[in-house]
Symmetry: C2
Subunit: 164 residues, 2 copies
């Protein structure tokens, strides 16, 4: 069996998270450049804040920070930026948490699958074509044609797994 492609890993022990953020911002810049769309100051900042950790971030937490930096920040400020970032695949929404997380590899075409650690709260993103395919096949067995897949799995990451 193929291994799942890991779009976004769980962080391993201590890591320099500023590097994660830097990578993500560079990738976003390049992606927007390429597509001829504008990563404005607000959008860039919201993306940074979403990437603040490996945990999904709440819209109103982003707003709180933004408010401290910019008088005019209001809910639409954040939701519009998030909408842009979602549309461009730079962030994803974790539906089961009403929270947002940076995409580990913008541009991936298949749906991502999210692993959410109940203990540390961190999230990893996989892209497993085999799984995507199986879901599509199962659906088509009953005549259902898939447009979009949502897979969110809750449990324990390697670091938080109950000692065995």
């Amino acid at each position: 069996m193929n291994n799942a492609k890991i779009l976004r890993e769980f962080p391993k022990g201590k890591h320099k998270h500023s590097a994660c953020i830097n990578d993500a911002m560079k990738t976003a810049e390049a992606t927007c450049q390429e597509r001829g769309i504008r990563l404005t100051a607000i959008r860039r900042r919201v993306l940074e804040l979403v990437w603040a950790s490996h945990e999904p971030v709440k819209a109103y937490d982003v707003l709180d920070t933004l408010r401290s930096e910019r008088d005019s920040a209001a809910p639409p400020t954040v939701y519009r930026a998030l909408e842009f970032l979602l549309d461009e695949g730079l962030v994803h929404k974790i539906e089961s948490l009403n929270a947002y997380i940076g995409c580990g590899e913008p541009g991936h075409t298949d749906a991502g699958q999210f692993l959410i650690c109940s203990d540390c709260g961190d999230v990893a993103e996989l892209d497993d074509p085999e799984l995507v395919k199986m879901i599509a096949e199962k659906a088509s067995q009953i005549g259902f044609s898939i447009e979009q897949q949502l897979v969110e799995v809750t449990g324990f990451c390697a670091q938080c797994a109950p000692a065995s």
Copy 2:
């Protein structure tokens, strides 16, 4: 490959939906009886309202109806009933819609997988052990142990599929 077990089908053409509701209510009665828990009038009525169609139902739509029948109905009335029904596996929450749908086969142990038709809005529920297993395996490849799975798929049911 095994076929997915269908816990709740898409309705086929015209069907007598009162039969769906009756079945669901009988199953719920029996389930609660067996478990020694109380399907009170409010809980029963909320379950009926969730089963009102094959589409997921919003909490506040349930509330609107309940208000017309019972002066004391308020948000906690509905959310408490839903919490009970969710805990007992009599209904499921469709996270991507913030809406609730009756379980087609209360007592199933695996996570259900939901197929949501973008056109008619109806939802089917599958339980495919093979899929559940594959997700668990993919997760365990990166050291993640699963507690709960969420699979919600959007697309077109057989009836609504674009003519081919």
